[in-house]
Symmetry: C2
Subunit: 237 residues, 2 copies
């Protein structure tokens, strides 16, 4: 099965959580919008009047005739197929629950620079962004890190399920990457308190296929259009 | 199977999406935190050091030994068991995708009154709330309503899947209820443009078990502590 990933071609964004799973699994996939005229194909599908089950937004995945939207839902679908989720329903629901918690965290990270509206520029909501980012760094970021550190402590082995990797591990790796890009000062202060989360990050980065991907041109660098953005005034000393 | 729902006892909040599914299905369940000392049990489990797979936040569901967190994940689990989701994987993923889109919408509705921080009072972020609510009403609310109207138009029958009800229909009913409470003026202007969404709402409200529930004291009234809140200044004429 060749999967078709549809996501905006110039950012890591939410699509990156899917890319990491596909890459780590060595899956056969096409990042459609990064090919010539690919972004137009993405927008065409979003606006098409003929698709009975159209997604609300990108990313979405085409798998044969199926079109699947919502990042966590795509990973729910891919997990067992890419051997990045266990088979037992109980375990799959737990991995999905962790993924949904990461999705909440990611949404909050995004809203630090866009607390008023995604359709306005950062400069139009800079005042509000400063307040929201301060709360994120002081309160929410430690709360989420605490949570994942606790899960890792209670399930020893190095990954969220213990010894076996799952797609939520790759997403947690990506959260650390993104947070280090966006909030380098806050992360420098906080990281020592979360040794298990940071060790998971480092362990994931060494996975052979993931390391190859991260060093390749397929990995889009972080930038100021994505979900994680570096505005020094939002990450004070 | 007797399900145990754990959620804050004084608000509809996210727990209501689970309650609606359990009630419509006539399921055997206990709303634990609404019983004497029930809220303490909820907090104890959230803080317990012995639960290997603890949820990040309420709501969570106990089903035998299983503890399941994240609203959409709980509905994913309950769907087939309550006959509120189809059996085919493709269809179950589609219903879940709709539920996750509703979760995004709900998060945005919440952030209209708390755009800076959930831990601050509304009065401490009133200025920011006005800007965010204006964008929500002018841009995001119509976008989400458009989307669900389109899904209903492309899948005729009255419910999101066509003729057969699923848990996402009950959640869409709840969105309309909550939005009418929080933004009565905006909804009065917008509703005529979304006849299928409003018809779904009315159809769901007439389902016998749901109607009984809605008229009972088990249905907590909307109030100013929940996700949907009525601040007239956020819903101008």
């Amino acid at each position: 099965m060749r999967y078709e990933l549809h996501y905006w071609p110039d950012i890591q964004g939410r699509g990156e959580f899917i890319r990491l799973a596909l890459e780590d699994a060595g899956a056969d996939y096409v990042d459609v919008a990064r090919r010539p005229r690919g972004a137009a194909a993405l927008e065409r599908l979003l606006r098409s009047r003929s698709v009975a089950r159209a997604p609300f937004a990108a990313p979405f995945l085409r798998a044969g005739k199926q079109v699947i939207g919502q990042t966590a839902n795509i990973l729910l679908f891919l997990g067992p197929r890419l051997r990045l989720a266990p088979k037992r329903e109980t375990d799959r629901l737990w991995v999905h629950q962790l993924q949904l918690t990461i999705a909440d965290w990611l949404g909050e990270a995004h809203d630090t620079h866009h607390p008023v509206a995604g359709s306005l520029h950062y400069e139009q909501q800079k005042h509000e962004a400063k307040r929201r980012a301060a709360n994120f760094i002081g309160e929410r970021l430690p709360k989420f890190l605490d949570y994942f550190e606790t899960v890792l402590r209670r399930n020893p082995g190095g990954y969220l399920l213990g010894k076996r990797v799952c797609y939520a591990d790759l997403s947690l790796f990506q959260m650390v990457e993104g947070l280090r890009y966006a909030f380098p000062r806050a992360m420098a202060r906080l990281e020592r308190g979360y040794p298990r989360v940071m060790a998971l990050h480092d362990r994931a980065a060494l996975r052979p296929r993931l390391a190859t991907y991260l060093a390749s041109s397929r990995r889009i660098p972080f930038n100021q259009q994505g979900i994680f953005r570096r505005y020094p005034e939002l990450d004070p000393v």
